[in-house]
């Protein structure tokens, strides 16, 4: 069907097994129920995949999605990718910036679904609604940067936009990421391994089409006001200068650092990674931005050795300190290595930190590590392990299977310090911050900080006033209260799901960027101006709720439920260091939070699974029937 703007109205479906390409329509029903992006991906996966689909089999699907606002000059260059995760077994999806997603839209597609498996390595070439499957013999084995350059040369087009995997994705490392535009990562959940399992090396896109806007002049007026409003946000200028590295200092003050595999919540040498240190010592070369972004939080960094890398983010630095290292030059090498191999910087760092603790406790020896003295703080050993993981050589082959499998194989109590939720590594400490922690605990993809974790409840950034809390959440939130945490997470996760579906960046919009930035009211107005589609403000909350339910139901089909909404053993021990010193999670605290959280969603409190009634209320009849069969198999 035709849209006045925002949507192309087309989804490409490529089956690599029979090399077929077809297009399906983006119906108005899909738009109204899921908007696009993450919501669309979750729905398509729940529709297309059978329960129990092996994530690395041809039956899994990997979907590249844009939202209706993707491509607008409102920090909306977002790409979302969804598949069943080979790391966690849950739904797996992630979000990235750069310029690939707007290019896909310019080529005429809202989304691209890839199914099946090619006989030999291939890449896709997408140009203005035309899609070709090419042999990737020339690029297989090459890094992300090399692949990108090779494709640009092959098509003689420096403006070609490329998503690609490196050797780690090819070898199906379970936390391999998908990279786009050289240095942008859809990091978590091992989506790079899904591409690798399909023999899909890269997707090169070039589009020359219009991103149509239903009401151009009004859209310009609206955006002028909106951008001015967001720029006035407290801390905007600081964040613009420093990006997420600005979080190193507060994280060590509050105590959400992961020092020495989360044995300590502060890193003693964290100053060496602080944004001030990085800037004063010439590590920041210049600011960089995603497509159409007025914030530009990313940085080009350069090490003393002359290594360039774009955008070391806070979580990456936190995982470097998890290995006992506080050295900006090592962090830059690490970031570049991971980007080129297509490894997630969070899970890679954390699984190495886990191996380091195993080594210090005598569970791994030099015979296992190939002679590497894998103690905390060993810089060369740390970087060498990244190579081992990416090439699956030596110990790296075991670590490449992820924390759960590594701890099972090593045994001898090592699972006590394998810090993951549903198999995904923690990237911050979550003790003493119930609103932040619960977001990680119930997130549909495993431990993740962008799907419900409430930044406004963290001690250093309590940006929400009681008035705002009453108005936005319907309740005053005490940030230290375990009873209040479900309310905060419930509010946050719906908003996050809507942003991921519209194609907006979380830093410039509420709730994650802070209260009263741009939120449902502005989304509603903007969607109308851009696409002509009227969705009232209140309905966005319902759409967010629907997306959370689809993801939860998808996971329930795979056997996930309340038993999986938990914390790793180390989070049950008192934290050592920082403002949160002495805090921990008890089973009682977890139960209080989970009971409250499931009740708010009207889910089954005992199992943590959506009830069929709730799913029907949310206009999800097929999932309701499937869940009814799980809940009551005799029926």
């Amino acid at each position: 069907m035709g849209y006045a703007g925002g949507y192309c109205g087309r989804i490409a479906v490529v089956d690599l097994s029979d090399r077929s390409v077809e297009t399906i329509e983006v119906t108005s029903d899909l738009v109204r129920r899921f908007l696009g992006g993450r919501g669309l991906g979750a729905y398509l996966l729940s529709r297309d995949l059978q329960a129990g689909t092996d994530p690395l089999s041809p039956e899994n699907e990997i979907i590249f999605e844009t939202g209706p606002l993707t491509g607008l000059w409102l920090s909306a260059g977002r790409l979302h990718i969804s598949a069943r995760s080979p790391l966690t077994g849950t739904i797996g999806d992630g979000n990235s910036g750069g310029a690939w997603a707007p290019e896909l839209k310019a080529a005429g597609f809202d989304a691209l679904i890839v199914r099946g498996r090619a006989d030999s390595p291939v890449f896709l070439w997408v140009r203005d609604t035309e899609i070709q499957i090419h042999s990737a013999d020339g690029s297989w084995g090459k890094t992300v940067g090399e692949t990108t350059e090779l494709l640009r040369q092959q098509f003689n087009d420096p403006d070609l936009k490329v998503v690609a995997i490196g050797p780690a994705g090819e070898r199906r490392v379970r936390f391999a990421c998908v990279m786009n535009d050289y240095a942008r990562a859809v990091g978590q959940g091992g989506l790079g391994a899904v591409m690798g399992s399909k023999n899909l090396k890269a997707i090169a896109v070039r589009g020359h089409g219009d991103f149509r806007i239903a009401r151009p002049q009004q859209t310009m007026d609206f955006l002028r006001e909106t951008i001015a409003h967001v720029q006035k946000k407290p801390g905007f200028d600081y964040f613009k200068r420093m990006g997420t590295t600005s979080l190193i200092a507060p994280s060590n003050e509050v105590g959400y650092a992961c020092y020495n595999n989360m044995q300590y919540t502060r890193c003693p040498d964290a100053d060496a990674l602080s944004s001030e240190h990085l800037q004063e010592n010439g590590y920041f070369r210049k600011s960089m931005a995603c497509y159409g972004c007025f914030l530009g939080c990313s940085h080009l960094m350069v090490s003393k050795r002359g290594t360039f890398t774009e955008g070391i983010e806070f979580g990456t630095l936190n995982e470097v300190t998890a290995c006992g290292i506080a050295d900006a030059d090592v962090a830059i090498e690490y970031n570049l290595l991971c980007n080129e191999y297509s490894l997630d910087t969070f899970d890679t760092g954390h699984v190495i930190a886990f191996a380091m603790e195993c080594f210090e406790k005598g569970l791994l020896t030099k015979a296992d590590t190939g002679g590497i003295d894998l103690r905390f703080g060993n810089r060369e050993g740390f970087l060498a392990m990244v190579d081992q993981i990416a090439t699956r050589s030596g110990l790296g082959d075991l670590l490449a299977e992820g924390l759960v499998h590594a701890a099972e194989t090593i045994g001898r109590g090592s699972d006590e310090f394998a810090n993951h939720i549903k198999g995904m590594a923690l990237d911050t400490d979550i003790r003493g911050m119930p609103g932040w922690g619960l977001g990680y605990i119930v997130s549909s993809i495993g431990a993740d900080h962008l799907r419900g974790a409430t930044s406004f409840t963290i001690a250093a950034s309590r940006t929400m006033s009681q008035e705002q809390s009453r108005r936005l959440i319907g309740k005053e939130i005490d940030p230290s209260s375990y009873e209040d945490a479900p309310w905060a997470v419930w509010y946050e996760e719906k908003g996050d799901a809507v942003q991921d579906s519209l194609g907006l960046c979380k830093f410039i919009s509420s709730p994650h960027g802070g209260p009263d930035l741009i939120y449902y009211k502005e989304y509603s107005e903007l969607l109308y101006l851009v696409s002509g589609i009227e969705i009232p403000e209140e309905e966005f909350d319902l759409i967010g709720e629907r997306i959370i339910n689809v993801e939860r139901a998808f996971n329930a089909r795979e056997g996930f439920g309340r038993k999986d909404d938990t914390v790793p053993p180390r989070m049950r021990e008192p934290a050592r260091g920082g403002y949160n010193k002495g805090t921990f999670y008890s089973q009682e605290m977890l139960d209080v939070m989970l009971d409250g959280y499931y009740r708010l969603h009207k889910w089954d409190v005992k199992t943590g699974i959506p009830t069929p009634e709730r799913l029907r209320e949310l206009d999800l009849p097929v999932l309701a029937d499937q869940i009814a069969r799980i809940s009551n198999p005799s029926r």
């Binding site: 607008l72 310019a106 420096p158 020359h208 149509r212 151009p216 210049k286 931005a289 774009e310």
Partner: protein, 168 residues
């Protein structure tokens, strides 16, 4: 006044970190919105040249030469100076495309659908890319032909040389 012709064009004036071009391409988006009512970089009169790996990004738009090379090669005389800008009369233009390679800084391109050349027209005096640039690195600058602005030209020349070296 010296009597030599002077023209005013869009130039990039970068300040110290973080006031540099961040490669967001907002100028491209705005340009196509203002001129065409759609977002399409291919229809933008200003283009950001980028080399992501080393963080290179540099917007390129017509600097409005007082003695423009593009006008010299136009076989039908469709390019002239009008209202302070180098302007193309689309009705006269036959779309031969000779002006595109003639421009020393690559500031002319062919429109993807009309196949006629497009270039910066200074938005009739208030260039919208300058208004919207989030880091305020775009400026209007007056320069005398033959006496290029020393702060701007070397950067631009280096930038183009670098790009040509990388791409050719």
């Amino acid at each position: 006044m010296s009597g030599e012709p002077t023209m005013t064009g869009i130039c990039v004036v970068e300040g110290p970190f973080p006031d540099n071009c961040i490669g967001c391409r907002t100028c491209e988006l705005i340009c196509s919105m203002v001129h065409e009512g759609v977002i399409n970089s291919e229809k933008s009169r200003i283009r950001v040249r980028r080399e992501e790996r080393h963080g290179f990004s540099y917007p390129v738009a017509c600097i409005q030469c007082a003695d423009p090379e593009c006008a010299k090669v136009c076989p039908v005389g469709a390019i002239c100076i009008s209202g302070g800008a180098v302007a193309i009369d689309v009705d006269t233009c036959v779309g031969c495309g000779k002006c595109v390679p003639a421009c020393p800084i690559g500031a002319i391109r062919l429109h993807p659908t009309t196949r006629k050349p497009i270039k910066c027209d200074l938005c009739g005096g208030v260039p919208q890319c300058i208004e919207w640039c989030p880091r305020k690195v775009l400026k209007l600058r007056r320069h005398q032909h033959g006496k290029p602005d020393y702060r701007v030209e070397p950067m631009l020349v280096n930038a183009i040389a670098e790009l040509n070296g990388e791409e050719s």
